[in-house]
């Protein structure tokens, strides 16, 4: 696809160290979730039926699409097509907004049905995991906004959008696991 690089730059090393540490932290959340699920398997199964799998599926497709768009943005920036790369990054931001609106709609729906953070262990995990993930979506917005600014500036380079994309893909793959655990696995 593209030429291989042998050594990580200092910035890349810092970013990947951060991403790997996020992986470890989220692993702990996922493992604790599973341990609690096995403690009250029937209760979790019953609570899970209150969630709409369609919301989980649509959110996953939206995030995957945003990941695809930012991957295209990176390729555009590497080819020197900075304006096109910025447009792809803006589309990514737009899809991120769609994800947030969908999540807020789902939370509102659950709250109106009487399911809140304190309802039971399943909903505590549901609001915690989706909430902490949403915080990462907002952090991703800051990365992408900075990259768009760079792409529109006089000293545009691919470095900024590459970093933003790497972070955004992490947001995406963490959601892939959350979708499987909260909406599908039983």
């Amino acid at each position: 696809m593209t030429t291989r690089t042998n050594a990580l730059s200092e910035k890349q090393f810092g970013l990947w160290t951060f991403i790997l540490s996020e992986c470890v932290i989220f692993s702990a959340y996922f493992v604790i979730f599973m341990l609690y699920r096995m403690h009250d398997a029937e209760g979790f199964r019953s609570a899970q039926t209150q969630l709409s799998p369609a919301f989980g599926m649509l959110n996953t497709i939206v995030l995957l699409t945003s990941s695809w768009q930012i991957a295209l943005s990176v390729q555009g920036a590497r080819s020197g097509m900075h304006a096109a790369a910025a447009r792809r990054a803006i589309i990514t931001l737009g899809l991120g907004v769609v994800f947030i609106l969908s999540k807020l709609t789902e939370w509102t729906r659950e709250s109106r049905s009487g399911h809140t953070f304190g309802t039971n262990d399943f909903f505590s995990f549901y609001f915690f995991l989706t909430g902490i993930h949403l915080v990462h979506v907002f952090i991703g917005f800051a990365f992408i906004a900075a990259a768009i600014r760079n792409l529109r500036g006089d000293e545009a380079s691919a470095e900024s959008i590459e970093a933003a994309a790497t972070y955004w893909h992490m947001v995406d793959f963490l959601w892939v696991v959350i979708f499987a655990l909260l909406y599908v696995a039983g």
């Binding site: 790997l20 996922f30 599973m34 696995a185």
Partner: protein, 98 residues
Amino acid sequence: MEKTLEGRLFQVWLILSAVTLVTWFLGVERRMANVQISAVVTYCALLLAVVKVRVIFVEFMEARRVSKTLLSLLDIWLLLLAAALMAIYALKLEMPPV
């Protein structure tokens, strides 16, 4: 931008989306199934999630291009996580009461 690369990224997105639809379908079906089928769906959902995350590592994050060691570290994390989740499920391990 190379057209072939653009096409490859589109194919990757298409495959990931298709796998997501399969996962969703499994989740819908599981709700009407018994405990044994539910367990099979759970393992399938976790395995499909592992496949999707691995594809994101390689195709979207270009982890192999950045560093082979990095891809190995990500793979180890992914395998350990999947193994831990499946072992907890299979062995019915519980969180001790706090």
